[in-house]
């Protein structure tokens, strides 16, 4: 699949989340190649922006096509929530790019 075809495949999809929505990172220990750091699993954050549709790196890692494309978001977390012993400011945040299949709406 070339870039133009990939773009069209992405255009047919609609991102599930929009900026400002609260989400929770799935707390699972999936086997294989994982692009979601352990420390952020199970944490709550806010969608900062929708970044775009990309081939799934967790599939590309095994030599497969990476299709269907996956929506990627920049998700913002409060540092003090991510790190229980965080000694910095209460307003400090951390942005991480996460794929849609790792996110669920905050309960």
């Amino acid at each position: 699949m070339n870039a133009a075809t990939a773009e069209r495949a992405g255009a047919a999809q609609v991102p599930r989340y929009r900026a400002g929505q609260r989400v929770r990172v799935r707390k699972v220990d999936a086997p294989g190649h994982i692009r979601t750091p352990h420390y952020v699993r199970g944490k709550n954050g806010v969608i900062e922006r929708f970044v775009g549709f990309f081939k799934n790196p967790e599939e590309l890692a095994y030599g497969r096509s990476g299709l269907p494309l996956k929506a990627l978001y920049r998700v913002r977390f409060v540092q003090a929530h991510v790190w229980p012993e965080y000694a910095g400011g209460a307003q400090d945040t951390l942005d991480i790019d996460l794929y849609e299949h790792w996110l669920e709406p905050e309960a």
Binding site: H33, I34, H38, Y39, P57, Y62, G63
Partner: protein, 102 residues
């Protein structure tokens, strides 16, 4: 469970802040990786998966460049680009050479 390579948030101790020059062979490993990805033989995602498949002992015993070299070797064998025998005979050949760079 945290995978052994997923170190974010674990105690790191003192961070060495001195610059260090890369050895020529280390630069060659990087060049090889760039070449393999540009020629679409190996994806960077496959290389990452390779690093995560070395096992904790090999991973932590190896340097950054050594890990990449091991991952590249394993991936190229897996893909049939080189064989185990070819790699072994090349390594044996290098052992006997006098012109090998440090």
């Amino acid at each position: 469970m945290r995978a052994y390579h997923d170190l974010g948030g674990t105690p790191a101790g003192e961070i060495p802040k001195d610059d260090h020059e890369l050895e020529l062979w280390e630069k060659r490993i990087e060049a090889l990786l760039v070449l393999l990805t540009r020629k679409k033989i190996l994806r960077i995602d496959e290389n990452r998966r390779g690093l995560e498949s070395l096992g904790a002992d090999a991973y932590f015993a190896a340097s950054y460049a050594e890990r990449r070299m091991l991952s590249i070797s394993n991936n190229l064998i897996l893909k049939g680009v080189i064989t185990v025998d070819e790699l072994a005979s090349k390594l044996a050949d290098i052992e006997t050479r006098k012109d090998v760079l440090p």
